[in-house]
């Protein structure tokens, strides 16, 4: 190669100094951490979203279960209170209560026939021994029974019922 051949080369007056540049910067406009950060962000958003959804579902699930349980308990309590009420209507209980109030049976009925106004029978005073069946002061059953259980559940605290086979 001769010196003449090099004469056509333009040489700037002040050459630009050389500097090191990174390969990534040279090949992409974005910082190299952006991609994994975006991926991680999406994953995090997804996980948080799922967590929130899961939490909400569980919360509602618990609420539903609680309400169902409460409904069941209330219906059970209603049934038990009804049983206690039924106990108060038993003939034994009514006879006992009537006896405690000093009431006695009067078998001498008097009927008024409508529309004639005819009176059949004649009422009479009673002493309380006219009907031997119910003349004695009735007593409540002494042996423990289901109704005792229900009654006591309302008044004292035994929580067991009879009637279980």
């Amino acid at each position: 190669m001769s010196a003449v051949e090099y004469a056509d080369v333009v040489v700037p007056h002040k050459p630009v100094p050389l500097r090191a540049i990174s390969g990534r910067a040279a090949s992409s406009r974005w910082p190299k951490a952006t991609f994994p950060i975006a991926l991680l962000s999406m994953l995090a958003v997804g996980m948080i979203g799922q967590l929130l959804l899961q939490t909400k579902i569980q919360e509602q699930g618990f609420e539903l279960a609680g309400l169902q349980n409460e409904a069941y308990e209330l219906s059970a309590q209603q049934a038990i209170l009804q049983a206690a009420l039924d106990k108060q209507f038993t003939p034994q209980q009514l006879a006992y209560s009537a006896s405690q109030l000093g009431m006695v049976a009067n078998p001498y009925s008097t009927l008024l026939v409508l529309p004639t106004g005819e009176i059949i029978g004649s009422g009479a005073k009673v002493r309380g021994n006219e009907v031997p069946i119910i003349s004695k002061a009735p007593t409540l059953p002494s042996n423990p029974t289901a109704d005792d259980g229900v009654r006591d559940a309302m008044q004292v605290n035994p929580q067991t019922l009879g009637g279980q086979p």
Partner: protein, 616 residues
């Protein structure tokens, strides 16, 4: 010195990874590989046995929705039997022994806590449920069964009111112990205790496994047994999709609502039942009878009260004497004795053979087969009217009249009155009794005419006499008045059998004879304000100890008011050491009718009965 080969390779690889293109390619390859794996998995799941895989993943869960057992009430709606929700508290003693931990991995603290468990738990159970501390403790700490194997199940409390169970469970949870398992175990509550217990029956666990491998709760006797299928209803279920993590939100859920049991209203009148029970119990004790039965029904077949004593409390069936459980009125068959003469008399009157005034020559005894039959009262030949035969309860006179009927006619009448076959009242195990057919011997014919040589149940006999009181029309006795579904829709109930047996005129004539008899017995039966018609029975019974007739079955039946009968009451006492129906059973009939007649608004009698002659 050159670098080792591996180090050089790593350097090359790191250098390549450092290249953006290489990294992107690697990531892409990994993503593609991941996508391929997912696709293959999807293909496998969806392409091969998709239904099976879906089933595995979804795990449909079935939750039983038990049907509520129907309620039984009396004629005024008063509850006789009802179901109350309750919990059966069970425990696994093996779990409790280690408090649910693996024994080998337990620390000293865990062991000490587990050892203290049974005592602490027993204390809480005693406080909450009552009962014996030691019993609870033994159940909780017994980990071996009788065969020496692990004991995994014990019942701590058979039935606890459901809402009380919450508090108990909280207390147990606070202790930090595990191994308790509450089970749904509804109890059947009979608020009236022993009243009508024989009719209602009781509940038991069936000895046979059902389709779910459980021992179903079922009726053990009485209406609880005979109406078990209808009362039970049909359990429902909820089927929903679930994963191992629980129910899948928005997943499929199919609910089959339970069909609640049918509720029944009976013809029974509970207050009358109570009074009848009281009176019968007193009579059984006074007469030293083995047991007694009393039935009050309308002449139209509606059973108002049906008592037996001794009886039992269905609430505590386990404590009941087995001899007292059952339905004597439908299952105990016996020779009815002289009450049977009413049916014989009704037959001969209906046939026109006699009327209340007919004159009959009654000898002191009458030959029957190879022996003689006489009356319970010694007499020579007497001149009795047909009414006199009934009032004096003459065996000889009744035989004399019954011989005017052919055997076929007699059997036909008795079958018409309902003897020899169950009444169809709907109670389980109802007896037919025994009625000889028309090929019977002459001696047997003589015997059945006055109440021996055949057997009846109390239900059959009272229904037969009610026929006479009901203008000659037989109406089979019934207990069920109506039935409804849980939504109130009426359900058909069996209709009674209705048939005419004797004419209305014959019925009236026999009633007048019964009324004459009541006047004869006025010292033992006097229903103030009302006319009644009655008949006593004092049947003899063979004592198995001697094989001889020396036991007595006193009975008495009354219909009132005699001028227009509405009620029939029948009382039977078994195995009294002596006495008669008039002595022991008549006062019971009187007292029951005395309270029953005004109760149903029956106007007191105003007319005077006809006085019928007994002799001529």
């Amino acid at each position: 010195m050159s670098k080792p080969r591996s180090t050089r390779n790593n350097s090359i690889w790191q250098a390549k990874l450092g290249q953006p293109y290489t990294r992107a390619t690697t990531l892409l390859v990994l993503l593609i590989a991941f996508a391929v794996v997912l696709s293959v998995r999807c293909l496998y799941i969806q392409g091969f046995d998709p239904a099976g895989n879906a089933a595995k993943a979804l795990e449909p869960v079935s939750l039983p929705l038990p049907a509520t057992r129907g309620t039984i009430t009396d004629r005024s709606g008063q509850v006789l039997a009802e179901s109350v929700p309750a919990i059966r508290l069970t425990a696994d003693p093996t779990i409790i022994a280690t408090n649910g931990m693996i024994r080998e991995s337990m620390s000293l603290a865990d062991r000490l806590k587990a050892q203290a468990g049974p005592g602490l738990i027993a204390g809480i159970l005693t406080t909450h449920l009552g009962g014996d501390y030691q019993t609870y403790y033994d159940k909780l700490s017994t980990t071996k069964n009788e065969a020496g194997g692990e004991l995994r199940y014990t019942v701590l409390a058979p039935s606890i009111l459901t809402y009380s169970n919450l508090d108990l469970q909280d207390k147990l949870s606070d202790l930090g112990y595990v191994g308790f398992f509450p089970e749904q175990a509804p109890v059947r509550n009979y608020p009236n205790g022993t009243l009508a217990a024989n009719i209602l029956g009781y509940m038991v666990y069936s000895p046979e496994l059902d389709q779910e491998g459980k021992y179903p709760w079922t009726g053990g006797d009485g209406l609880e047994l005979s109406l078990n299928a209808q009362l039970s209803g049909i359990d429902g279920e909820e089927i929903f999709e679930a994963s191992p993590y629980g129910r899948i939100p928005m997943g499929t859920s199919v609910v089959t609502e339970p069909q609640e049991g049918i509720s029944y209203e009976l013809t029974l009148d509970l207050p009358l039942q109570y009074m009848q029970d009281q009176r019968l119990a007193e009579a059984v004790k006074n007469s030293r009878a083995k047991f007694g039965m009393a039935i009050t029904m309308t002449v139209h077949g509606e059973i108002l009260a049906i008592s037996s004593y001794p009886t039992f409390d269905p609430n505590s069936i386990g404590e009941a004497d087995s001899a007292h459980i059952g339905i004597p009125a439908a299952r105990f068959s016996y020779e009815p004795g002289s009450v049977q003469k009413l049916l014989t008399m009704a037959a001969v009157v209906d046939k026109g053979i006699v009327n209340p005034h007919s004159r009959v020559v009654v000898p002191g005894k009458i030959e029957s087969g190879d022996s003689y039959i006489n009356d319970s009262w010694r007499h020579d030949t007497v001149h009795l009217t047909a009414t006199g035969i009934l009032v004096r309860s003459s065996n000889v006179g009744t035989i004399t009249l019954s011989r005017q009927l052919s055997k076929e006619e007699l059997v036909g009448y008795l079958e018409g009155f309902g003897l020899g076959s169950p009444t169809g009242i709907g109670l389980p195990g109802e007896e037919s009794g025994f009625l000889p057919d028309a090929s019977m011997s002459g001696q047997t014919r003589d015997n059945i005419s006055f109440g021996q040589g055949l057997s009846v149940t109390a239900l059959q006999e009272v229904a037969a006499v009610a026929t006479i009181a009901n203008k000659g029309v037989y109406v089979s006795p019934r207990l069920i008045r109506s039935a409804t579904t849980s939504s109130g829709t009426p359900v058909d109930v069996p209709s009674p059998t209705v048939r005419r047996v004797i004419s209305e005129e014959a019925s009236q004539q026999v009633l007048s004879m019964m009324e004459e008899l009541a006047q004869e017995h006025s010292r033992n039966i006097n229903v103030k304000g009302y006319r009644v018609g009655t008949k006593s029975g004092t049947a003899q019974k063979i004592d198995p100890k001697c094989g001889c007739y020396r036991l007595i079955i006193p009975s008495y039946i009354g219909v009132a008011p005699a001028e227009d009968p509405y009620l029939v009451t029948y009382v039977v006492l078994d195995n009294t050491p002596g006495g008669s129906g008039t002595q022991w059973a008549a006062p019971v009939v009187q007292d029951i009718l005395q309270v029953a007649l005004p109760r149903y608004g029956i106007a007191p009698s105003t007319a005077t009965p006809e006085d019928l002659p007994l002799f001529w």
